[in-house]
Every structure is written in structure tokens, then in C-alpha cells.
């Protein structure tokens, strides 16, 4: 409840930080603005006393108990997307140990699912969650299924194409992964 009231007062333009975000929101769009405002509302938050909340309430004119329409929806969605900043930060070693990257092991021959992020002529640039994206040729069969946003199945060969050439001390990297296109999982066109 406190958080919602805080956010409503900020949206009324009472604080200097949100004043400049209001200008930027035209360029950025409401989504990013909300993300920024979310983090700042948690940052500036010292636990406020009841009297302060009452003061805010009276100025902004927001009812305490019953919320309807926008207020109700806002409350629902702010709780869903709120980041638990009070929880302790998960350690990197733990995150890494339980990551898909570790689970994968040797990438050679592993089947993964990727998303087509770019189509340039006959080439599909597919992102499967690794450091680099892989580039595959668009197959002739079911050509129109392979568009930007389609999910495809890949058989990985290498996560990064980098080899040492004769006489060199360091490897040269192509900044690309190597994978074979197996099939399609989901297209935006067909259900």
C-alpha cells in the first residue's frame, strides 16, 4: 500500500527526479519509464510514518481503502513486477552453478531452442541464449515460417568460432556461433 501511494504522489510531479523522466517518457515510452521509476521509488524509500502518508493522501486526493479502475489495476501489476530489493543478492557462484550454460556441458551436438532475431536475405540470425548468435541459411521447405520472432530448434556445434591460424600466437574470433538448423518450433504466422 505504501509503495502505491508513494508512486502516485511521484506521478503527480512532486519530485525533481520524476520531473525529468516525464520529459524523457515521450522518447523512451512508458515501459522503460516505469522500470526507472520503480527502481527509484525503492531507492528513495525510507519507511514513512503514518502521518506522512496521510499528508500525501490529502494532497493527491487518493482514497485509502477502496481503489477502483486504474488504481486497482496499478496495485495488482506493481505487486507482480516489483523487484524484491530487500532480499539478499544471490551469489554469482550459485547462479553460475545452476545455470543452463553449466548444464549444457560440451556444446557439440546439443539440441537447443533459439529465436530468430534478424533475417538478411537468405540468412537467419538466431539467438539461443549464448554469448553470440548463430547464422543459418533459410531452408527451402516452409520458407515463410522463418521470420523474425520465430522459434527454431538448433543442433549446436560450437559456441564461438575462433581458431588459431598458422604462425599466430593468438586466435582470431568470428564473433559468431556455429549451429545446424533442425526445425521450427513456433512461427508468429501459424497458431
Amino acid at each position: 500500500m505504501e509503495i502505491i501511494l508513494r508512486q502516485t504522489t511521484f506521478s503527480a510531479g512532486r519530485s525533481p527526479i520524476f520531473r525529468c523522466f516525464r520529459n524523457i517518457s515521450d522518447i523512451v515510452g512508458s515501459q522503460t519509464n516505469k522500470q526507472i521509476s520503480r527502481s527509484y521509488s525503492d531507492v528513495s524509500g525510507q519507511p514513512k510514518s503514518k502521518s506522512e502518508i496521510d499528508n500525501n493522501k490529502s494532497v493527491s486526493g487518493v482514497e485509502n481503502k477502496t481503489m477502483s479502475g486504474f488504481g486497482k489495476a496499478f496495485e495488482k501489476f506493481s505487486l507482480l513486477t516489483r523487484k524484491p530489493l530487500d532480499e539478499p543478492d544471490i551469489k554469482f557462484a550459485t547462479l553460475l552453478r545452476h545455470s543452463k550454460f553449466m548444464q549444457l556441458g560440451d556444446p557439440q551436438g546439443k539440441v537447443v531452442e533459439g529465436k530468430i532475431i534478424r533475417v538478411v536475405g537468405n540468412d537467419l540470425y538466431i539467438d539461443f541464449g549464448g554469448k553470440f548468435e548463430c547464422v543459418c541459411q533459410k531452408p527451402l521447405k516452409n520458407e515463410r515460417d522463418y521470420v523474425r520472432g520465430s522459434r527454431v530448434r538448433l543442433r549446436l556445434q560450437r559456441l564461438e568460432l575462433s581458431t588459431k591460424f598458422l604462425g599466430a600466437t593468438k586466435e582470431i574470433t568470428l564473433r559468431e556461433a556455429d549451429a545446424l538448423l533442425v526445425g521450427i518450433v513456433r512461427t508468429p504466422f501459424r497458431t
Binding site: 526507472i36 527509484y40 502521518s51 523487484k83 553460475l96 550454460f101
Partner: protein, 259 residues
């Protein structure tokens, strides 16, 4: 005392700051009903608030940049992925967590610390009205970098670098030019896998640099290197967002005329 104040809440908005003072006064008045004490308390509070406002350099994290990201955010943006063993620059060894079947992993604990320093520095530069230049030569990320600079109200150079921009600026621009006060490199390599000219030139012109150094880059000439992935679009997007937020945080506070 000042450090405690910073930890508790350095980001005090104008409206709420007054309310906090009022709250403190109310509490103290409830305990002791003395009219004479009121004035002293008010003076004490105002003095500490003034100290906070007048010297942001005394605080380790005046703008609260540490709260802009968590290690999970860095992890989700694939910042811990490095290149392979064969392309490792020996100067990057201290920042590597380990190697998984030839693929290098960055130690995000170290990255987080260095990222916090860099963001804090950026916020301070923005606070003092410095010019910040985002530099990147990767064609994939040109749009991301330029948008971030636009949103932050700062400048970007995400195209091919003209060699004499910094070192011979008077000839290039036909007049006395003000060079940037900070250069943020989203990638310290150019598409030919060689060190970006901006690194060397900024060092020559005594301009501090912040740079994202991948496992194949050399961090030596960069003032605030941030070891991490510079190739994935998700990673670059995160860096751009963080720098933009840090700049906006710095600009949101009104600097007090000290000189």
C-alpha cells in the same frame, strides 16, 4: 556519521526531506516538551543536511548507483560470458572466474564492484555538468548506444572514428573545441579486433575513460575498466541503461555553487 547518513538515504528528494525534518521534530517534541530545545534541534538537523548537500565527494555512493543493478541482472544480461582461452589477453586474468571447456567466465563479484565505481564516477561528472561521450564501433550496437546518449542528454560517437578528433580538434572543427570530460567505451575494440583509437587518444588528452573490457581487450589505458561481455546485444543494452540512469541520477541533483 556522514557515511552512515549516505547508507541510510543519500537520495533525498526536496519534498520528502522537509517532511523528514518535520517528522524528526515531532518525535523529539513528544519526548521532551521544551520550546528551547526546538531551535537547537532544527539547527542540528539543518547543519547535517547542509553538509550532505555541500560536499557529495565525501560520500562513497552519493547518488545511490549501487541500487541500479543486482548481480542477477548482470547474469541475465549475459555479462559473465567471455571469449575463448585462445583469445585471452593476459592483463584480463585477474577478472576471470574460470574457464568452462575453453569458454571464459568473468567473476561478476569483481565486475559488480568495478561497475559501481564507474557508475558513481559517471554520476559525479554529470552532476558537475561535464560532457560525456559514448563511444562504440560495433555496427550492431550503434542504435542502442545512440539512443542511450539521447535519453541521457549526452553525446555519442558510434561510427568510424576520425583519427584527429581529440588530438587535432582545432583543425578538424575549425575552432577552439571543448573536448568531452568523460568517454564511455561500450567496446574497446574496433571491428578489426584492434584497440579503439579513442582509448589511446583520450589518455593523451587526459580525458578519463570508462570501458567495457572483454577477455580479448587490454584494460591498461582505461581509467575505470569494467570486465564483462561486450558482444551480446542484451549486455550492451544493460550497460547503456545503467550509464543513462547514472547520468540522469547525477543530473537530477542540483549542484550547489561551491566556488
Amino acid at each position: 556519521m556522514e557515511y552512515e547518513a549516505a547508507v541510510k538515504g543519500p537520495l533525498k528528494l526536496k519534498g520528502t526531506a522537509n517532511k523528514d525534518i518535520q517528522k524528526k521534530l515531532k518525535k523529539k517534541n513528544k519526548e521532551k516538551n521544551a520550546a528551547s530545545l526546538k531551535v537547537d534541534q532544527l539547527a542540528d538537523i539543518k547543519e547535517s543536511e547542509l553538509k550532505e548537500i555541500s560536499d557529495p565527494l565525501k560520500f562513497p555512493d552519493y547518488f545511490g548507483v549501487r541500487k541500479l543493478f543486482r548481480i542477477k541482472d548482470l547474469f541475465d544480461a549475459r555479462i559473465h560470458y567471455g571469449h575463448k582461452d585462445g583469445t585471452l589477453d593476459p592483463n584480463m586474468k585477474p577478472y576471470i572466474f574460470g574457464s568452462r571447456l575453453g569458454h571464459l567466465i568473468f567473476d561478476l563479484d569483481k565486475t559488480a564492484e568495478m561497475l559501481q565505481d564507474a557508475l558513481n564516477f559517471t554520476a559525479h561528472i554529470a552532476y558537475r555538468g561535464g560532457i560525456i561521450l559514448f563511444v562504440s564501433h560495433c555496427p550492431q550496437h550503434t542504435l542502442t548506444v545512440e539512443n542511450a546518449a539521447k535519453q541521457a542528454g549526452e553525446y555519442a560517437h558510434a561510427r568510424e572514428w576520425d583519427f584527429h578528433i581529440f588530438t587535432n580538434s582545432e583543425k578538424v572543427y575549425n575552432g577552439v573545441t571543448r573536448l568531452p570530460d568523460l568517454v564511455i567505451l561500450l567496446s574497446t575494440l574496433n571491428p578489426q579486433m584492434q584497440e579503439h583509437t579513442a582509448v589511446k587518444d583520450a589518455a593523451k588528452m587526459c580525458i578519463p575513460t570508462i570501458g567495457i573490457v572483454d577477455s580479448n581487450s587490454n584494460p591498461n589505458l582505461i581509467t575505470y575498466p569494467i570486465p564483462g561481455n561486450d558482444d551480446s546485444p542484451a549486455a550492451v543494452q544493460l550497460y547503456c541503461n545503467l550509464f543513462r540512469d547514472a547520468i540522469l541520477l547525477g543530473k537530477s541533483k542540483k549542484p550547489v555553487e561551491v566556488y
